[in-house]
Symmetry: C2
Subunit: 230 residues, 2 copies
């Protein structure tokens, strides 16, 4: 564990309040590893051996059932994932694969649980982190349960526009088939959803989306503070 890696961990809110010696202890046996694109990191029924910290790259968490597969969420650096599974010493509930070449710090789950019971500051931060993760999934659940495919796409565009500086032009940060899976539809249906949004001022050119009538788009999308991420 080199100093720079320790600083990356320290910079995350989750670990910001942890005592120095507890942090060192937790990072013992941790290792930073680079994976190429399209590599499966773990599968949903595997036992959780590591808390993962995505340092660089991009990771997709997905799930399978009844011969179907779907993207549950995307992880962007720098962020931890599978904290809940690591803390409860249970199975990963989701599978993970790299979408691009990625650097991941792997911390033994047992170390995390030990730190949890020894370090008051860490426990407090973990509570906050888990509560935020919980709200994140609730949002995703509401999104898919209460909105149609076209509405989900419209809201995705609105959120991306906000994140990319409200310029009216966004660049999709992921492949369309991944976006389709994340929005809970097929790639074919995503193409048609974009076509449906044409009368609402959406122009598509490859990965570039142009929003010509923001008002009309919002009328259709009905964005909600309680569903869409900030």
């Amino acid at each position: 564990m080199r100093t720079s890696e320790k600083e990356i961990v320290r910079s995350l809110p989750l670990f910001s309040e942890m005592a120095e010696d507890h942090l060192d202890e937790m990072l013992t046996g941790s290792f930073l590893q680079r994976f190429p694109a399209t590599v499966v990191l773990f599968s949903e029924s595997d036992h959780t051996d590591f808390l993962h910290v995505l340092v660089d790259g991009q990771v997709e968490l997905y799930a399978s059932a009844n011969n179907r597969e779907g993207t549950m969420t995307l992880i962007k650096p720098v962020a931890t994932f599978v904290l809940a599974s690591a803390l409860t010493d249970s199975a990963y509930q989701l599978s993970a694969r790299t979408l691009e070449s990625s650097q991941i710090l792997m911390i033994p789950a047992q170390n995390v649980r030990t730190a949890m019971s020894n370090d008051q500051g860490f426990a407090q931060k973990a509570v906050r982190e888990l509560a935020l993760c919980y709200h994140g999934v609730v949002r995703a659940y509401k999104n898919i349960k209460l909105r149609t495919a076209v509405e989900r796409l419209a809201n995705y565009i609105i959120v991306q526009n906000r994140r990319q500086g409200e310029t009216g032009v966004i660049k999709l940060p992921i492949e369309k088939r991944t976006l389709a899976s994340m929005l809970g539809m097929t790639p074919e249906n995503l193409s048609r959803a974009f076509a449906t949004l044409k009368p609402y001022g959406i122009r598509v050119d490859g990965a570039e989306i142009c929003i010509e009538k923001p008002g009309d788009l919002e009328t259709l999308a009905k964005p909600s503070e309680l569903i869409d991420a900030h």
Copy 2:
């Protein structure tokens, strides 16, 4: 706050490790209240003033968006709800209403947050509780994203059968329209889903469901340890 109510709180894993004086302090200003059926307890955008403990009755957590409404989960006694919102001092992410006459203990959210920062044992238990809640929503999310309506119903029947003693006959604990909403479909579609399950040995007589071919049902449902509750 009477002794019996304190004992109810103490019996929950979440509060089992809390120091006596912290518990007393937290329960100061708490009150036990009885609500009739069909009463809205709070709405999703309201600020979270109380952590709720359902002592008796049944509560539905639901959400609204784009002129649609859906049941997110059902709370059965004895259990807490909206812990994550209470701890982060944010809005309830869901609305709540009683399904039947219910007794609810309401604990000021500020008290819970204070107890959280003062009581090590409580913080540890809260971490565990939040991790379990998180996994619960992930399951629900996978359920709706990866299964069809008929598959969700089939798995619901299998889980209920297990919970009610594997007798092959179950009694629906909720109205069919509520079940429909929880499974993410309309009441009409639920009726048809039951009809679809007829060839798989499902007989319906009011709230009583008879499972005549458990094997066939499982083949259709493909139950998963990682989606269906224990």
